[in-house]
């Protein structure tokens, strides 16, 4: 079936008219210059199964998606036939506040979920980029996280159970609904961060947290990176328990900005702010400012959005993972490259943002060598396709681990339908 319009007709028989994205909007789902033949929005697990069976019979690739905020992630797919977007499967399935857990369908938007949870003074402590549109399925599939990971961890620490449709159409579940569970293998971990290459996530149960009674932060400027990082690490290593300690370098200020945030009982937060202020001032901070309320939100929204880029833009976003004590020196070295940066200092994560230019691939390859030598990793979060053609976005995986991963992929998705070529090592 070569004709895209005919393909959409066939798919419409499975998902109905409301389950097919109108032709005019299909271009929004272009991935690295490849426009899908169809975008389907199934309304049930049965429809997902049928779409997958259809795709298998026709040898068509299926690209799972949430709201499409991560289309620029991963290596360029081998082919883009059907985008399967989960946004119509978006209910809260089960929510018992006193259990501090929630079960949701994968297409629910994080903001919609947070609103429901807030009615009970609870929240899901994940704050990845693309706040206004990212879906839970996308967050879990990409193991996406934000600066709150210092205190609360990532999807890896919060997912209790998953329901997944495999490429064959089989529905399976992993884990369960309770906060502790060691029955059988922890298969959840394989799906989290698998970028939809092992199956389509349809439902997930997650651990929640109480919303802190008070949240506040301190910001301060520093002369140089070393001083700022040293101060940040002192706060992380102190008796305070920060929600985040972020280091920001952009064109707004000459030197780096340190941002340390705290949440909890009012009194607990007050004490921590005092401690952190003392540590900052001892280390030569300039203009320590306490921020709370609306400005707190605004500042954090901006930090959260740091690693975002528009689909098909020229922006390159790089995530570097290092030991937290190696961040400052590395950051100092790349600063000369004109990049903006955000370090989640306590977690050992550094985001770099720059424009695609000629020669960037070589620069990043050299940086990656240095990072890997320090037992870290350098991942291109998003980039225009020409950069991806020159550089694997994920970086190297050791041979035997690669072999295990390739076997997993081959057994979970025998016909290589799901997101072919977008993950590590050609998976």
């Amino acid at each position: 079936m070569s004709n895209a319009a005919a393909l959409r007709d066939e798919l419409q028989r499975i998902v109905g008219e409301s389950g097919i994205l109108p032709d005019a909007q299909i271009a929004n789902y272009t991935i690295d210059g490849l426009t899908p033949k169809a975008v389907v929005l199934p309304a049930s697990v049965w429809e997902i199964q049928d779409v997958l069976r259809f795709a298998a019979a026709q040898h068509l690739s299926v690209i799972p998606a949430g709201s499409g905020s991560k289309l620029q992630s991963g290596n360029s797919p081998e082919k883009v036939d059907i985008v399967l977007a989960m946004t119509h499967i978006n209910e809260v399935v089960e929510y018992e506040p006193a259990d501090l857990t929630v079960t949701v369908e994968a297409g629910i938007q994080l903001t919609a979920l947070q609103e429901k949870l807030a009615d009970n003074g609870q929240f899901l402590p994940l704050n990845p980029p693309y706040a206004s549109r990212c879906t839970l399925g996308g967050i879990v599939a990409a193991n996406a996280s934000g600066y709150l990971r210092l205190r609360y961890g990532t999807a890896r620490n919060l997912v209790l159970g998953l329901r997944v449709v495999h490429a064959s159409g089989t529905v399976v579940k992993s884990g369960g609904k309770v906060v502790k569970n060691v029955a059988g293998y922890d298969v959840n971990k394989l799906y989290i961060g698998s970028f939809g290459t092992l199956g389509i996530l349809t439902e997930m149960t997650l651990k929640l947290s109480p919303i802190p009674a008070r949240q506040a932060l301190l910001t301060a400027q520093f002369q140089d990176m070393q001083a700022a990082a040293k101060t940040g690490l002192s706060i992380v290593g102190s008796q305070t328990l920060p929600d985040f300690v972020n280091l920001l370098v952009n064109s707004e200020h000459a030197g780096p900005t340190l941002v340390a945030g705290f949440g909890g009982d009012a009194e607990t937060v007050t004490w921590q702010l005092e401690q952190a202020r003392r540590i900052m001032e001892l280390n030569g901070a300039i203009g320590v400012k306490e921020v709370e309320g609306e400005s707190f939100q605004k500042l954090n929204d901006a930090i959260r959005a740091f690693a975002e880029s528009e689909n098909e833009s020229r922006t390159v976003i790089v995530q570097v993972n290092l030991k937290r004590t190696d961040i400052a020196e590395f950051a100092e070295n790349v600063l000369t490259n004109n990049a903006e940066m955000l370090a989640l200092l306590g977690s050992g994560v550094l985001y770099l943002k720059m424009e695609q230019v000629e020669g960037l691939a070589e620069t990043l390859a050299t940086l990656r060598e240095r990072v890997v030598a320090a037992h870290g990793s350098l991942i291109i979060e998003s980039a225009p396709p020409e950069l991806k053609q020159q550089l694997d976005v994920w970086g190297p995986v050791a041979p035997r681990a690669r072999n295990l991963m390739q076997q997993l992929k081959a057994r979970f998705d025998e016909r290589n339908l799901l997101n072919p070529g977008r993950f590590v090592s050609g998976i």
Binding site: T154, K180, A183, T268, T325, M405
Partner: protein, 479 residues
Amino acid sequence: MPQKEQLIAELSDLLGPRNVLTDATALSVYECDAAPSFKAMPDVVVFADTAQQVSDIVKLANKHNTPFIARGGGTGLSGGMLSVQGGIIIALNRMNRILEIDYENERAVVEPGVVNLLLTHAVQNEGYHYAPDPSSQKACTIGGNIAENSGGPHTLKYGVTSDHVLGLEVVLPDGEIIELGGVIEETPGYDLRGVMIGSEGTFGIVTKAIVRLTRNPQAYQTALAVFETMDDASNAVSTIIGAGIIPAALEMMDSLVIRALEEAFQFGFPLDAEAILIVELDGIKAGMQNQTDRILEIFKQHNARDVNYAKDDAERQQLWKARKSAFGSFGRLAPNYITQDGVVPRTRLPKVLRRISEISEKYQIPIANVFHAGDGNIHPIVLFNERDADQCERVEHVNMEILSVCAEVGGTITGEHGIGVEKMDYMPLIFSDADLQVMATVKDIFNPTGLCNPGKIFPTPASYAKLGLQPESASGGLK
């Protein structure tokens, strides 16, 4: 069996005869873990000292087509280290070196035989600890903890082993040594480290681990409350969690446990109370009193009779001693016991505990409860005499009914002890054939010959018969 003699000779060449046990008396120490109702005799036990030796042993085992099983402290409660098909037990307790401690990055690199509590001892002077704290922490090893993905009382706030292990060195079932994860929080690709943790020693042998260290809290507040009824105590638990308070630990003991504790140790608990809760807050001192006050208010709402505070660390240790001594006191109640390990949603605790007491009535088998209430992780202690065949049969029914209740309310059949041989029959209560097929596929990728710790986790046709179930046709599952 010349084959076996040949294998033993080759093992002796490799490790020196002193590190190879074949004498029946010596071997009998290794025929069970801390769940002694299951026993199996290994053919040989060897002591390994390095990853290379483990790899060489595994290669020999493969050459002789012989099963091999890692053993840490032998404190497992599901028969995970049993050599059910004979073979080689690889004892790892000599690989007990702490290789590296990096406070600034809050990491330690350890060998698998390091005893859990000794890691905490090694870092406590600098104000750190290793957070997962199984009640067996004086004897269990980090390797065993990783295999079982162990928890403990403080799991409620700090998470389980998987949340604290970043990197692993593993000898795969074919003998190759690989590294998974690392010093950083996540590495590209599928999370193989994540799926290795909790694989009950069936995906290979962990020979090194990079773990997180956790800074000690600035302050603790520990209290013990006595309740007239189990319902009151368990409702207090879900009210606390629902009120947005996450204690570091929230543990419950019922009247039978109280009685056993009193007989054995005389803590001075009232014998007519139905339940005791131990609650611990930890963290920053400023503001902690507010939280404590809110908890006390909740206790009062739920008719707590007495509340005892630990005023200093000695008193705190004393309160915890009661909890930690519980297992030591069951010998007074019956010659044998089985520790169940289901998890239920916290809000279902009252219902589930009532059902357990009905099951106990029905079969006339006493059941004591001491457990991680804050997590909904129950530990019904099923008390019996293994010499009484009739009791043993009733115990079978008791086990099955308790686990069925856990499954029915949306829970699971094990929260920390693992499936091992003990609970493999019950896996179909919570997993479909397709779910199990996924697990079998992953196992087949890591352990294609099946020689690494065989006979565990997966239900057999007999399991389905026991549950009165038909295995569904696994059509459409992974191959």
